[in-house]
C-alpha cells in the first residue's frame, strides 16, 4: 500500500480509504510539514504519514510528527506555515476544541505557506465518547473556509483544492470529514507527485504575525474581506455543481456523505430532481444557491447533525423566493448518522411518491457484544486491584479517554464521570474541593496524561486537593492504533511520567507494575487516605506492544 500511495507517476486507480486519500491529496499538493494527534475517525491520516516516513518510501523534505496534543500540533503547523511551508494538520473533531485557542488567531494572521486542517467528525459517536460534535460550527466561529468531500476521490481532490484556496487567499482551509467518509474505500484516480521543496525560512513581518491591539481589529477586517473574496471565488469552483437539467419545481441541496445516499435514493425511486451539491460549506456560494432556489417551489436540504445549511438557505430564500418551502430536519433526524434507507424514505415523502420499504417478518432479539479489554491487557490487573483495595460504593471513579474507558463497562463498572481528555483529574479536583469526605480515584492513560493531564495535576497541587490519580501507563497510545507518545520506548528521548509528577510537586508517588497485586493494593489503600494528591503510575506495556516487539525480534 505504501508503494502505491507514494508512487510518483501512477496514472492509475487504486483502492483508498478516505483518510489515505487525504494523505495522497496532500502528497500530490507537495505537502512539506504534517502534524497530528491521533483520534478516530481521523487516525489513519497520521498513521499513513508515519508509516511512509519510516519506510523505504520515505519522502525527502517532508516532515511528520505526532504532536503531544492537537493544540501544539496546530501551533507547530502555524510555525511551519509562517516559515512558508505547505502544511497539513489532522485531528478528530474534539481536537478542534483543544486547538481552537490557536485556531482563531491563525485566521487573523492568515497562513503564509498554504495550510489545510483535516478534521473528522463522528456522527453516531462510533468512536467518540464525549459528544456528537458538528465541527461546522467552527467554520463560523473562526471564519474558517470549509470543504466537505463525499468520498475518497473527493478526499484527494478536495485536499488539493483546499491547498489551492489557501495559497491564493493566504488563509487556512478546513477539510471536514465524517466517519463514513474517512472510513470509506473506493477506487481513486491518482495524479503525479510534484517535487518536494526543502526547508522554509521565517521572514520577520510583525504586521502579519503579531495579533495585538490595535492591529488585531484591522486583522479582523482583513479576514472578513478575504471571506467575501473567497465567497465570490467559490461560486465558480468545480466542487459546487448542479446535477440533472430537469425543470422540476423541486430541488435537493446537499454535501458530504448525504450526497451519496441521495444519489442512491434518486436511483431507487427513479426520480429526476435537480441536485445542488455543495462541496464547500463556508463561505457558502450564495449566488449559486440563489440561482438554484429561485424557480423552485420546494427544496429539501440533506445534512447530518445540526441544520446549519438549512438555516442559511431559509435566509437566502427570504431574499429571492419568499414562498419557497425549505424542508430538512422535519424529515430527517438531528441526532445520529444517516442511513441510505432513511434518505430513500424521506425523499419519497418529499417528492410525494410511494415507497414500500422491504419488510422482514423476523422479530430480531438484540445482540450486543460489548467491547472488552483485550485478553492479557494490563488494565485487567489495574481494575482488579482497585476493586480489591476499596469499597466501590464509597469511592468516586473518574474516567478519561483511552482503552481504560472500558473500565466503565461490565464487569468492572468503575466510572462515575467521563468527559474530555484530561478531565478525570480536572473534575476530580473540583469534586474534592466541593465535598467533605468522599474518596476519589481518577484514571488517566499515559497518552492522555501528556495530552491534557499535566495542567490539571498541577492545579491539584497548586490549589491543594487530594484525589488519588492512577496513571494507567501501557507505554503507548493504544486505543487509536499504537502511536508513540513521549513516554513510549521508540522515541528519541523518553520522558518519564514520574519525573513530571515529581516536578509538579506531588509527594505521594509510586510506580508499580500492576502484576504485583499485593503491593498495588496496599499502595491504593495507603494513598487514598492522604491529605495531599497522590499518584500511582501503574506501568505495564500493552499486550499488543509486547507481541509486536516479540515478532520483530
Amino acid at each position: 500500500m505504501l508503494k502505491e500511495i507514494t508512487s510518483k507517476k501512477p496514472n492509475k486507480k487504486i483502492l483508498l480509504l478516505g483518510n489515505d486519500a487525504i494523505v495522497r491529496g496532500a502528497l500530490e499538493a507537495g505537502v512539506q510539514f504534517v502534524s497530528t494527534f491521533p483520534g478516530t475517525p481521523a487516525s489513519e491520516i497520521g498513521n499513513t504519514f508515519y508509516q511512509i516516513q519510516n519506510s523505504e518510501y520515505k519522502i525527502r523534505n517532508l516532515y511528520f510528527e505526532y504532536s503531544v496534543n492537537e493544540k501544539v500540533a496546530l501551533e507547530a503547523g502555524i510555525g511551519a506555515s509562517f516559515s512558508g511551508l505547505k502544511t497539513l494538520v489532522a485531528m478528530k473533531h474534539f481536537g478542534v476544541n483543544v486547538c481552537s485557542d490557536a485556531l482563531l488567531p491563525f485566521l487573523y494572521t492568515g497562513s503564509k505557506g498554504p495550510t489545510v486542517i483535516a478534521v473528522s467528525d463522528d456522527p453516531n459517536c462510533w468512536s467518540s465518547a464525549q459528544s456528537e460534535q458538528n465541527s461546522r460550527a467552527y467554520s463560523y466561529l473562526a471564519h474558517l473556509p470549509t470543504l466537505e468531500p463525499s468520498d475518497s476521490q473527493e478526499c484527494k481532490d478536495f485536499t488539493k483544492i483546499a491547498f489551492r484556496i489557501s495559497e491564493k487567499f493566504k488563509i487556512p482551509v478546513m477539510i471536514r470529514l465524517t466517519t463514513r467518509v474517512s472510513h470509506q474505500r473506493m477506487p481513486v484516480k491518482l495524479s503525479n507527485l510534484p517535487k518536494f521543496n526543502s526547508k522554509g525560512i521565517f521572514i520577520k513581518d510583525v504586521e502579519r504575525f503579531v495579533t495585538m491591539p490595535p492591529r488585531v481589529l484591522k486583522m479582523k477586517d482583513e479576514l472578513l474581506e478575504k471571506i467575501k473574496e473567497i465567497k465570490k471565488f467559490s461560486e465558480k469552483l468545480e466542487i459546487v455543481r448542479k446535477e440533472s437539467p430537469s425543470k422540476s419545481k423541486l430541488g435537493l441541496i446537499t454535501s458530504g456523505i448525504s450526497y451519496l445516499y441521495l444519489k442512491e435514493a434518486l436511483q431507487e425511486l427513479k426520480l429526476d430532481i435537480p441536485v445542488l451539491k455543495l462541496g464547500i460549506f463556508y463561505p457558502l456560494p450564495e449566488k449559486e444557491i440563489e440561482k438554484f432556489i429561485k424557480s423552485k417551489s420546494k427544496v429539501f436540504v440533506l445534512e447530518e447533525l445540526e441544520p446549519y445549511l438549512e438555516k442559511e438557505i431559509n435566509i437566502l430564500a427570504k431574499k429571492v423566493n419568499p414562498n419557497l418551502k425549505v424542508i430538512g430536519k422535519n424529515l430527517l433526524p438531528e441526532t445520529g448518522e444517516f442511513r441510505p434507507e432513511m434518505i430513500i424514505n424521506a425523499l419519497a415523502e418529499f417528492a410525494g411518491v410511494k415507497y414500500e420499504e422491504p419488510k422482514s417478518k423476523a422479530k430480531v432479539p438484540s445482540v450486543k457484544h460489548i467491547p472488552q479489554l483485550c485478553p492479557g491487557c494490563p488494565y485487567w490487573l489495574i481494575f482488579s486491584a482497585v476493586k480489591r483495595a476499596v469499597d466501590e460504593k464509597k469511592v468516586i471513579f473518574g474516567g478519561d479517554i483511552g482503552c481504560y474507558m472500558l473500565g466503565g463497562l461490565p464487569p468492572h463498572n468503575l466510572q462515575d464521570y467521563l468527559s474530555c481528555m484530561g478531565a478525570s483529574i480536572g473534575i476530580a479536583h473540583g469534586i474534592k474541593k466541593s465535598t467533605k469526605n468522599q474518596k476519589l480515584i481518577a484514571f488517566i492513560g499515559d497518552g492522555t496524561f501528556f495530552h491534557a493531564g499535566i495542567p490539571a495535576l498541577i492545579n491539584t497541587v497548586f490549589n491543594n486537593s487530594n484525589p488519588l490519580i492512577i496513571v494507567t501507563d501501557n507505554r503507548i497510545t493504544a486505543m487509536t492504533g499504537h502511536q508513540p507518545n513521549p513516554g513510549a520506548d521508540n522515541v528519541t528521548r523518553r520522558i518519564k511520567i514520574e519525573d513530571i509528577v515529581r516536578a509538579c510537586g506531588v509527594k505521594n508517588l509510586k510506580v508499580i507494575d500492576p502484576a504485583r497485586q499485593k503491593e498495588f493494593i496496599e499502595t491504593i489503600k495507603n494513598f487514598i487516605n492522604k491529605k495531599e494528591v497522590s499518584v500511582i503510575i501503574a506501568r505495564r506495556p500493552c499486550i499488543f506492544l509486547k507481541r509486536k516487539n516479540e515478532t520483530k525480534k
Partner: protein
C-alpha cells in the same frame, strides 16, 4: 464481463478482532481487479475491541453509497453465530446467510442457541446455512483465524458472490502478509474439497 452490471451487496458481521476489515480489504481488492466499481464502509477504534462489528461492501457498475440499504444485502457472512441476527435488517427473501458455527458468549447473558438464531433468520430469508468454519479450519489447518476466508471461498465456489477464487487469492496476496499466504491458499483448497457436502 457482463455481470459487472449486476450489483452485489455484502454484509460481514462478527466481533472486533475477528479480522473483518482484512476480509473487507480482500473482497474489495478482488472486486476491483475484476473491473467492478467498489464502495465499502468499516469502523475503527475502541468500540471494535471484541464488540459487535459490521462492515459493508458494495460492488457493481457504479456505486454511490458505501452503506448497504435496509433489505438490500445479497449475502450476509457472519463470523460469529449470534451476530448473524444483525444481518436480518439488511436481508430480504433472497439473501443468503453464511453463518460460522462459533458462538462467542456475551458476559452475563445467556447465549442464543443455533436453533433459535436460525429460526429467527428463516422468517426473513430461506437461504440460511450454518457452517462449522472455525472448527474445520482449526482441525484441518490448525488455525481458526481463516474461518472468514473459508466462508468467503465457499461463497465464491458457490457463486454467491460474483468474485472468482483467483481474484480473491490475488486480493489475499495483496493484503495479507506473505508468510500467511500459504495458509490462506490451503483454506481455499479445503473449502473446495468440502463445497459439495455443505449445501
Amino acid at each position: 464481463m457482463k455481470q459487472k452490471n449486476k450489483q452485489s451487496n455484502i454484509i460481514i458481521v462478527g466481533t472486533g478482532g475477528q479480522g473483518l476489515i482484512t476480509l473487507l480489504k480482500i473482497v474489495s481488492e478482488a472486486a476491483f481487479s475484476q473491473g467492478y466499481d467498489v464502495k465499502t464502509s468499516e469502523l475503527h477504534g475502541l468500540s471494535q475491541r471484541g464488540g459487535s462489528v459490521g462492515v459493508h461492501i458494495r460492488m457493481g457498475k457504479k456505486i454511490h453509497s458505501p452503506l448497504v440499504a435496509k433489505g438490500k444485502a445479497n449475502i450476509v457472512i457472519a463470523l460469529e453465530t449470534q451476530e448473524a441476527l444483525k444481518g436480518v435488517y439488511f436481508s430480504n427473501k433472497e439473501t443468503v446467510f453464511l453463518i460460522n458455527k462459533n458462538i462467542i458468549p456475551i458476559p452475563f447473558k445467556k447465549s442464543f442457541s443455533e436453533k433459535e438464531i436460525v429460526s429467527v433468520i428463516k422468517k426473513s430469508s430461506d437461504k440460511v446455512f450454518l457452517i462449522s468454519a472455525s472448527e474445520i479450519c482449526r482441525e484441518k489447518l490448525g488455525k481458526d483465524v481463516v474461518a472468514g476466508i473459508y466462508l468467503l471461498a465457499l461463497a465464491s465456489f458457490k457463486k454467491l458472490i460474483p468474485l472468482t477464487p483467483e481474484s480473491i487469492l490475488k486480493g489475499i496476496e495483496k493484503i495479507v502478509p506473505k508468510r500467511y499466504f500459504k495458509l490462506n491458499k490451503e483454506t481455499f483448497t479445503l473449502a473446495k474439497k468440502n463445497e459439495e457436502k455443505i449445501f
